[in-house]
Amino acid sequence: MLKTEGLKKIYHMGEVIVPALNNVFLEVEDGEMLCIMGKSGSGKSTLLHMLGLIDSPTKGKVLFKDQDVSKLSESRRSKIRLSQMGFVFQEYALLPELTAVENVYLPAKMLGRWPSEYQDRAATLLESLGLLDRMHHRPRELSGGQQQRVAIARAMVNKPEIIFADEPTANLDTASGKQVMDALRWLNEQFGTTIVFVSHDAEDKLYAKRVIYLYDGKLSEEEED
């Protein structure tokens, strides 16, 4: 489904050149639940952004369903993100002026679905994630775990083929983190949605079908000591 070939990313911090990814070859299978682990600054979030088309590589390719998407225009990438990908970010990235259900159905509205269709789907998703009674609450009225589950529902609303989650449990307590990871696993098992998530929490990798490690921008199948 998703493949990278010789992916490189270099950041320029003034005159300093910082290599974030170095010649990364990765293949993500359909229906996989992949965990990318690594220490802070290892390049795991950068890799996730490349895979999710929200950043462009300095060199190399990202192939999504055999199409090189790394050089597409922002408009085309935006359409792919909207219709075929879902995102869950580290810090409950909900729009504060929208209610939970509005946050969930916003991408569906953007995709041009009928209100009756997307409102029902958003409500069903929230219900499945145990948030039915929180549907009309604003983000500030929800706990961190609840917000993150709303973000997962939002990521699912357009029935994407793949969901990217960037340290989804990073700011949550253990119980809330478990709820979030359970929700992601449920999506993977229930709908066959491919999940790629980044974490540095050893507990999280237990949810993955496969774990890969990033060390200083280089990929490894093995965990370093």
């Binding site: 952004h49 999710g52 929200i54 950043d55 922002e74 408009s75 935006s78 359409k79 993100r81 909207l82 219709s83 990908m85 879902g86 995102f87 970010f89 990235a93 729009l95 504060p96 002026e97 929208l98 509005e102 916003l106 991408p107 509205k109 953007m110 995709l111 041009g112 604003r138 939002r154 990521a155 357009n158």
Partner: protein, 401 residues
Amino acid sequence: MRTLQVALFIASRSIFRGNFWLGVMTILMMVLVYLNLLFAPSLLQGVIFQMNSKLRDTLVGDITVESSTPGELISNSSKLVDQITTIEGVDAVTQSRTLSAQLQLASERGTAEVSGIDVESFKDVYSIPKYMIEGSFLTPGDKDQIVLGAQIAGAGKAKLELYSDSLKNAHAGDVVTVKFANGVTKNYTVKGIYQTEFVQADLKTLITASEFTQVMPSSVDKASAINVKLKPGANQDKVNQQILALNSNIKTRTWQERAGFVQSYTESIQVINKILRAVALVVGFLTIFIITYVDVVNKKRQIGIERAIGISPPTIILAYELRALFYTFVGAVIGAVLFITVVVPLEARYPFHFPLGNVYLDVNTGFMIRNVLILLLVSVASATLPAWRAVYGKIVEAIWG
């Protein structure tokens, strides 16, 4: 359509669920910007209106008819006046004869043009009799009586623009000596003094037509000028053509053609007007720009998230534009209501006094609507710039904040 729907959705939620006081302050700023956009131009437009009104009501009427031969009088003027009176759209017609003269009161001298007027028709065309500050206006049978404009009488008003060239201290009841250009010298009692506050009109000196005939016997049934006042809404060009068709020995000039000396004032005022409007628009532009800019900076991460989940940049920009349009429109509507119900009546009650008299705000619906539209356009432009910059940056940088 989808872009508009989503943008409307985001904008409406941002307006009604965002920071309440920020919204109120933004609208208040737009109210002030709109009032600023209306007030000074309306006042200056009022000055122009007053200037033109005074020119027509006290000096030239709407159309002036003169002999086509320079220096000659119009012959058979009474018949011509009657003919002009019958033209559709003509409200009133008056004729006058004029002769230069030197006026003297004690040791003070001044020069003026003395006009012999048909008193009743003069009152129909001009509003000068309403501006008497001393004594009274002429009546048709008056003999040896003269009415002086304040600028020639002086009337003890040292602040008058042309006081130094006036008789300085002439008052109603005083006797002035008038030496006409044809050599006739005669004493007149000052029956009244008027002050229209329009300098050129206040330089006039008036006597009755019969009195003028005694000074200049050859002026019987002749006129230096015939002045025509039109009914409101009359077609000036059409009336003008009809007058010209009556007599081949006359020429006509409209009040606009005779407005040369006020034209330069008018043009200067219009330039000032444009500058003030431009400044008001810049203030409006900067207000919305700063509000949007600060908002965009504060919501940089949110914009990044919106983009990451697939909300297109044009949708996000449109949401900011719609929000700016809303604030501007509400501000302009409140501003318009305040202007009509508070500012205009208040200014009418306590008008600004200019050298040519009280000036009232001159505003019409078209002008107000035009300014709303201009302000809306400016607000869209000012919201677009910062939103554009934020939306077309790198998503990752936006998310990182």
